[in-house]
Subunit: 299 residues, 2 copies
Amino acid sequence: MTLHAVAILSPGEMGGGVGAALLRHGHDVLTCLAGRSARTKARAERLGFRLCPDLGSLVAEADIVLSILPPEAARATAEEVAAAMRRTGEAPSYAELNAVAPETSRAIGGLFQGTGAEYIDGGIIGLPPAEGRKPTRIYVSGNAAPALDAFDGKDMTIHQCGPEIGRASSVKMCYASISKGTNTLHTAAMTAADSLGVGDILRAEIADSVPAVYERMQANVPRLPADSGRWIGEMEEIAKTYAAAGLPPGFHLAAAEIFRLLDATPYGSETRETMDRSRTMERTVAACVAELRKREAAE
Amino acid sequence: MTLHAVAILSPGEMGGGVGAALLRHGHDVLTCLAGRSARTKARAERLGFRLCPDLGSLVAEADIVLSILPPEAARATAEEVAAAMRRTGEAPSYAELNAVAPETSRAIGGLFQGTGAEYIDGGIIGLPPAEGRKPTRIYVSGNAAPALDAFDGKDMTIHQCGPEIGRASSVKMCYASISKGTNTLHTAAMTAADSLGVGDILRAEIADSVPAVYERMQANVPRLPADSGRWIGEMEEIAKTYAAAGLPPGFHLAAAEIFRLLDATPYGSETRETMDRSRTMERTVAACVAELRKREAAE
């Protein structure tokens, strides 16, 4: 299997970054923009992706389809692509690289049965690929996963997790459970303290006794509203992963609540490009408290 | 109010440390050991605390009673002390320094109504006081809290949080929600990964991309079993605190589950003195996975 022509669904921030890296390294990068946002369309055109008019032509031209989407869109997109494969008889490989539970990935893989397409499970860790940045890590599993080694070193690294579908998703879920779990826990604790009127006292204690934690929360909490809307579904997938492993889903159901809260603040409409990078943790947390007060008043 | 004679209930690890520091700094330190463990009795005798035969003589001799206990014992102890005050007509101040929700502290304060005792809300952050160690922080609130400034600088610092009962407990709850929330989240994530068969892959990714997180989990996770049993109640108090502030209680109900899991492993019977400090995170997590398997098999 050679992977020259790579279809990206969809060229959002991460998908756009992965596609752009592959383009820089000589791949033919295609996409299909039916139903995508104006921002995503503009990005795909700016990056120079080749546009296919529909999924039928996309599966006919691609050697592999990379699904890089918010997790709640993963299944519907896979259904559409599998339908296009059945309609056309074309069967490129399909790599499910979204932040979904291993069982979700296994269920999505089942959609391709009978199409002839190879199904690859995967998960992406790190920022989108960019020259001069630490390479993005792409974890993959499945019998056909070794083919993705063709992308290794192209501003990304490929990590093989074995032949079993779900293993790469497990790595992604557990990793994200820590990083996003911690960020939402920090947001929740500072919001609780502010709501209880002791925010200043708590901040002083944390700054004094665990300065690394204080620096991390100051750096990360203000950036969360921009992404909070699209991370709710990811937290629910992590909760599902934990429950299947016999562990409590509560951490990440609570994390989903915190992303909902952040998303409901006035800052929830920000994007990574438009967000106010001078905003402090204190102001971000104050917006969460204001949203809680609004909810109480509405009850 | 002078605070020369200080009663400690109970001289466990933290209470023993606080009492020993006050003894070093010239206070008269008393306790009452009826119903305490052999370990606690041995500690009180080793530290040289003056032993009162019953709570009646303790409240008669003490200028202040410091309640330093596992949170689930806080209310019953306060009830006994309040009863002893009513019986004897003696009314030293009572400082509730346990890890309880602000509403729990307010309810405990109510038990002293009519006794004439001043009630002080408090929370302790940091390791037990010891010479040459960063001072233990004692956060206090309530009208009578300023009297505790007498302990400031005696291997501990006193932090005034204002006249309202509950404010000091709020600080403690929010702080512990971060520290113990993060430790249990790390334990949960590594247990999930091991249970899903990808522990080695996840550890390598974390060690590479977030080495500070890796070092923290390696240092902290193996130490948790020794304390896990007595931290379950604290997580439930934090969950109550969050819920009252309009925030999701799920993080810390899950944290309580993780402490229950750690406590059920063979390492759960350790103490800080007896624990095997050479044990790795990997072995601690493997014991959690084994406990999960045992539970599955029992279902």
